[in-house]
Subunit: 398 residues, 2 copies
């Protein structure tokens, strides 16, 4: 802005920041609001759009939260999190992946949302690009935009199981690329990178001198083979995870970020400033996640989700949806609905209006073939899904 | 970055973001770590550096949190917060300040930290300046830096009760100024802007076309006269507040942001993306803050803090500290220690080492006369403060 510009109302500074032009609300919110309105009018809506299972938080975790509250002592914790929780998370990596991790690299955050804020806040400069798959989770791009970075979307299809590969990364890397974000299991596709491909992608990014951001928030929710952590292959990856999905603690808002050694000091400083700390009662409750009893309960839930996955997957195929890659993780099926429509948003809206089934249209996850895809979440019970499938069948046969 | 720059490790992209060079850890953290070490060695440390009172969370709030947890139903809430909590906050403005506020302008956030993130995220472009008082709370500047803005510090002294005024704002406004942040009661000085001066500052900023950010997180903790909300004078102010301080819910992480009508849509979009939602159990607990019973308990606490303020203020004067403005709010005394030292950081460090009393050195709050000032928090009990004052007297008479 030139120094001679007149001062006064004419400058219109009281306006929304430019970055907000590129940050969109989730399209599904429009459907969700309509769904709620229909519910208020007495309609029965089956929710297959929601990214949280119908399970309550496990009892042991609830009990730990209540016990902490009983003390009344809900003070700030250290900005990086309770030392015992950071230690438990590091121990989780040893047990689950055979990875030795210094707890000093673990930062407890307000959900994975906080982990993304921290990761990009300490690493991304304005104007730098982060490479991501299209389709992917919509917030990822918006975190990059928050810091005035740019997302470089790379179209991915079933040939790479909807994942970025070392080849794709090399091919699309640009001078202003800062790094690459990979999510395995992926939202919306539920696909995994196998260990070798994950290692290949990490090595490629690091060879290019970039940052590797590994979104592992659906780890544990895998049904055919384990998901590998980026930490198994590199000490220089940023790893985002949370207690929300596998551990069943969505509303508690507690996640974590693992940073490379060189970023520990920056993460410590930024966490102090932008969070003060992560909810104290949630952190104490999360500590109870790693008990044998709780892990057994989570295994029962995983098996339930696996059964739901199989049921939904098979029935969607039967109805004529195309599913190029059987989802192996998370709780989503990303289904090609082009046999029925060339506009998946309209399909979703009409399905809601006519049959009271809420799903998420492809455009919430990007642009590439978005109009041909619908994301179904198997976060509803078998009974509810069975009812939804009857309605869905009636809808597409209409 | 020029397009011809070679790709490869030489680009060293895996490095900390530039903004982090300007974001500092709180200096008091160094003292705090030393204090903890001394405590581990068996020393008794009196904490007068901590920004949270020794009171537990009020019982009614605890009970509400526990009741919610008992249901196990700790799911995500709407991104902007529970509708009933947004309504209660709007009602709080009616009761407390006689202000009518549309709940649609209220966004529940993860603490005031989340409110600052949201406020600057939706309004501040890289390179724009935000004016603030020096001294002020250190995170404020760092939120601005997070979004690659710049903080324009204006030295304030006792002549303006450590507050920015309409005149100071007009005098220091620059073409790239985006807005002005004011905190009343102020941290570290505990001073208030009276209603007329607050209105004058708001009007001045709006006349200049800028954004007025009003940090009201210590509202309610006032001992001589009420603090006025910016909302009493303008519908176009951003107001940051929280349940942490007055309501005694620090570790719960629940605050709020009130935005001007024109920013509602942007705030809704950004909150969805960067928070998903504020901790559910904390929101339900916060709902219990507005009961008559709880407000009566908070009034008892306010009177206790007032007594502490008077006790600390009078004793610091007696010992030879200079306090230009008697603090009227928050729980801090910002005392001039130049009778004893010309380096308040060394003073704080030596006081900790020799007498086991932890305080915050002025440099945590800016540069202006920082070496002459110490912030004492009266968040410790009368007995502990009395003990601290004996030690302090011994220290300065040594």
């Amino acid at each position: 802005m030139p120094a001679h510009q007149p001062i006064g109302k004419a400058t219109m500074k009281q306006k929304v920041a430019d970055r907000m032009q590129g940050i969109s609300a989730f399209y599904v919110m429009e459907l969700l609001q309509r769904a709620k309105q229909l519910e208020r009018e007495g309609r029965d809506i089956i929710h297959m759009e929601v990214g949280e299972p119908d399970f309550p938080t496990p009892q042991g975790v609830i009990d730990a939260g209540r016990a902490l509250l009983k003390t009344g002592d809900v003070k700030y914790t250290a900005a990086a999190g309770l030392p015992e929780l950071r230690g438990s998370i590091a121990e989780h990596y040893r047990r689950q992946y055979g990875v030795r991790l210094d707890p000093a690299r673990v930062f407890v955050t307000p959900g994975a949302s906080g982990a993304f804020l921290l990761a990009f806040g300490i690493s991304l400069n304005p104007g730098e690009h982060v490479m991501m798959a299209d389709p992917c989770y919509p917030c990822n791009d918006n975190f990059v935009r928050l810091f005035n970075g740019h997302t470089h979307f790379v179209n991915v299809g079933s040939d790479s199981e909807y994942q970025l590969t070392a080849d794709l990364i090399a091919q699309h890397w640009r001078p202003n690329s800062k790094g690459v974000l990979v999510a395995s299991p992926s939202n919306p596709t539920g696909t995994l990178l196998n260990g070798e491909d994950l290692k290949g992608a990490i090595d490629q990014v690091h060879e290019l001198g970039g940052c590797f951001y590994s979104d592992e928030i659906y780890h544990g929710l895998v049904y055919d083979r384990p998901a590998m952590s980026a930490l198994a292959y590199s000490d220089d990856a940023f790893v985002i995870n949370s207690f929300s999905k596998f551990f069943g603690m969505t509303g508690w808002r507690v996640g974590w970020l693992v940073v490379p050694e060189d970023f520990v000091e920056a993460a410590e400083k930024l966490a102090q400033n932008i969070f003060i700390s992560t909810p104290t009662h949630s952190q104490y409750a999360a500590l109870a996640s790693f008990t044998e009893e709780n892990l057994a309960e989570l295994e029962r839930r995983r098996l339930e989700l696996k059964a739901r996955r199989d049921f939904l997957y098979e029935n969607l195929l039967r109805l004529g949806f195309k599913i190029a890659c059987k989802p192996e993780g998370a709780f989503y099926v990303y289904a090609d609905c082009s046999a029925f429509t060339d506009n998946s948003f309209d399909f979703a809206r009409n399905l809601l209006e006519q049959e009271g089934v809420a799903v998420t249209p492809g455009r919430d996850f990007g642009e590439y073939l978005a109009n041909k895809h619908i994301r179904f979440a198997y976060t509803a019970s078998m009974d509810r899904m069975a009812a939804a499938l009857i309605r869905l069948e009636r809808f597409i046969c209409r």
